[in-house]
């Protein structure tokens, strides 16, 4: 491991459990001690890395991602983002982090109902205080990037599942965040759209952004520099496919998929 820069994401002994007593579910627990106590998950992600998180359904991928995106707080353990303990930030600072640093693509899109695609994509910019004209220009550019420039005026209920997912992607990258967290961003896309969206994500990573992608598909994982596997809330394997400061291994992988 290079030590030039400290990792952007540092997770220390993080656990997340739901419920109490007998009904408790450890969504994130890490390795167990001899007495069966969860030790918590440790994970470092360096700036510019491209991490694919894989694992079966219910293995805690989304739970981990929500904590990384500052949407949820761990039951125990610490999360350091850029060296700052997120647990010590107040509401306003958290909102700022979500807005400026993180682009989040939800597994279930989470578009604002009754709002046009353009307005959806403009939202994070509006909260960042970007002026209307500039906002519009950048939102249109982001929609163009995901191939939805002609659907800018459509509301979520007038868009197909794949189109909604692409609006969600455009919304996550419109602020040019330092970190892109995507929970199955290609889950509803055909192979061509999948290729397009992955191309966009690869491009962002090539320009130095840190990317974490949850996926079930091996061909998506091939785009990543590093693959982390979760089983029952614990990391069971962590494989590096390409160096952190190199380009994403996409072209070769894409060629491999086609072959």
């Amino acid at each position: 491991m290079r030590t030039a820069k400290p990792p952007v994401i540092q997770i220390r002994r993080v656990t997340k459990s739901y419920g109490h007593g007998d009904a408790v579910v450890h969504a994130l627990r890490g390795p167990l001690t001899g007495g069966g106590e969860p030790l918590g998950v440790d994970l470092d992600i360096a700036e510019g890395d491209y991490v694919a998180v894989m694992g079966s359904s219910g293995s805690g991928k989304s739970t981990l991602m929500n904590i990384l995106g500052c949407l949820d707080v761990p039951t125990s353990g610490r999360y350091l983002l850029d060296g700052t303990d997120v647990g010590h930030l107040d509401e306003g600072q958290l909102a700022l982090v979500r807005n400026r640093k993180i682009g989040f693509v939800f597994q279930s899109f989470n578009l604002v109902p009754r709002t046009t695609a353009l307005a959806q994509v403009e939202l994070p910019l509006a909260y960042a205080g970007v002026r209307a004209a500039e906002r519009r220009r950048r939102a249109m550019a982001a929609l163009g990037l995901v191939g939805l420039a002609d659907r800018a005026g459509h509301k979520p209920n007038q868009l197909s599942g794949g189109q909604q997912q692409r609006v969600a992607v455009a919304r996550a990258l419109v602020t040019a965040p330092a970190m892109l967290l995507a929970d199955e961003p290609t889950g509803n896309l055909d192979s061509r759209s999948t290729g397009e969206v992955l191309g966009i994500i690869d491009g962002l990573n090539a320009r130095g952004r840190t990317v974490v992608v949850i996926t079930h598909e091996d061909e998506v994982a091939l785009h990543a520099k590093r693959v982390v596997r979760l089983v029952d809330g614990a990391i069971v394997s962590d494989v590096r496919q390409a160096p952190v400061d190199g380009p994403p291994p996409a072209p070769a992988a894409a060629a491999g998929v086609v072959a």
């Binding site: 989470n110 994070p124 909260y127």
Partner: protein
């Protein structure tokens, strides 16, 4: 932000409209009910001034438990009061007899509410002014002339559009010449003060009542402050003429219009306060309606709030959006309520002409808007302090 708020309200038109209706009714009822209360007290105040604040009415009282019949009031009593040299508080005295009868003019026949026989001082003491013609004079009284002054209602009933002055009417077989018509006083309650015929006392006594007793003696005190003094002077003089030793056994009663009416005024104040309380409750209910609707809205849009927070919406923005919505609801509702209240107060309610109190308009509007802010802030706060993930998971 306002645009978002309008869009939010427009998304659920019926619900927003019903909520506004609650506020509207609250505000309108505050304005209207207070206006009705105020209107009735204004009417009472007006009738106090129109009666003349320094007039006293002496009427005979049957002394209870006394074997002999009470001595009635007579013209002599009035003269005693008028000629008393040691009673400077008494300015003028007018004995009054009242009767009823049918008045004829040509083939028009009408029964006026009252036929009054009195002295010219009666006009000033009762605050009556002629509109056309003139009052009858002391000379008319001395000579028992058959002249009459008509109230405006009586004049209209008998003469319609014609000018009554100088015309002859017949009441109970006696011909009277109309010398004047009084200015309209307007009804203050159950009887119409404009429905009268006023004629010289001896003329009326001669034609109708006979020269016995009089019904009342109207006394005008020299000033409003002198009424109490005048009251004791009257008591003293009449106890002399009636040979009554004990003031408690006096066979006459002196009533002071002012005190009578100020009692009535305080009743209308209570009435106004009660109306105001009812209206305030309806305003409160309107406010609770806002809370209710905002709670439903927040619950319904919890997921949306979660999305917005995940995208980095600061707490203040979320808070502001819902507060803007609830405030807009209450401002529009209150605005329409003010409109409804002010328009509604142009119609008379159960015979009372409502008089809008400007403070009530401002107050009701202000309170409604404050209620919107206050009751809207609870749901808005709840929305803003949700954790994004909890909000997102909300079904």
């Amino acid at each position: 932000m306002l645009r978002f708020a309008v869009a939010g309200l427009a998304a659920n038109k019926v619900r927003s409209a019903l909520t506004m209706l609650g506020v509207l009714i609250g505000v309108a009822s505050v304005i209207l009910l207070l206006a009705v209360g105020n209107g009735s007290s204004v009417a009472v105040k007006e009738s106090i001034t129109s009666l003349g604040t320094n007039s006293l009415t002496v009427s005979s009282a049957a002394s209870r438990g006394s074997a002999t019949a009470a001595k009635k009031l007579t013209v002599e009593d009035a003269k005693a009061l008028a000629s008393a040299t040691d009673a400077p508080s008494i300015k003028s005295v007018a004995p009054v007899v009242t009767t009823s009868g049918t008045a004829l003019y040509g083939n028009v026949s009408y029964q006026p509410g009252q036929i009054v026989g009195t002295y010219p001082a009666y006009f000033e003491t009762s605050n009556l002014k002629v509109d056309r013609g003139d009052y009858f004079s002391a000379d008319d009284v001395l000579n028992s002339r058959k002249v009459a002054v008509l109230g405006s209602t009586t004049a209209r009933e008998l003469f319609a559009a014609e000018d009554p002055v100088g015309k002859k009417i017949t009441i109970g077989g006696t011909p009277f010449t109309v010398v004047g018509v009084l200015r309209t006083k307007g009804s203050t309650g159950f009887n119409d003060p404009d429905d009268v015929v006023i004629a010289p006392l001896p003329t009326v006594q001669n034609a109708f009542t006979g020269f016995g007793s009089v019904n009342q003696i109207l006394v005008q005190a020299s000033s409003a402050d002198a009424t109490t003094e005048a009251q004791s002077d009257i008591t003293r003089i009449l106890m002399g003429t009636h040979a009554v030793k004990d003031a408690a056994k006096a066979d006459f009663r002196i009533s002071n219009q002012t005190s009578l009416l100020s009692a009535r005024e305080s009743t209308t104040k209570t009435f106004t306060v009660l109306l105001g309380a009812v209206a305030a409750i309806s305003l409160l209910v309107g406010g609770i309606g806002i809370t209710n609707i905002m709670l439903v809205t927040v619950t319904e849009r919890t997921k949306e709030i979660g999305i917005r927070k995940a995208l980095g919406a600061p707490r203040a923005v979320i808070l502001g959006q819902f507060l803007a919505e609830s405030t807009l609801l209450s401002v529009i509702g209150a605005g329409l309520g003010v409109l409804a209240g002010v328009v509604g107060s142009h119609f008379s309610v159960v015979g009372i002409e409502p008089v809008v109190i400007p403070e009530s308009v401002l107050g009701a509007f202000g309170i409604a808007v404050a209620i919107g802010l206050f009751f809207g802030s609870y749901p808005a706060n709840r929305a803003a302090s949700l954790r994004p993930i909890d909000a997102l998971r909300h079904e």
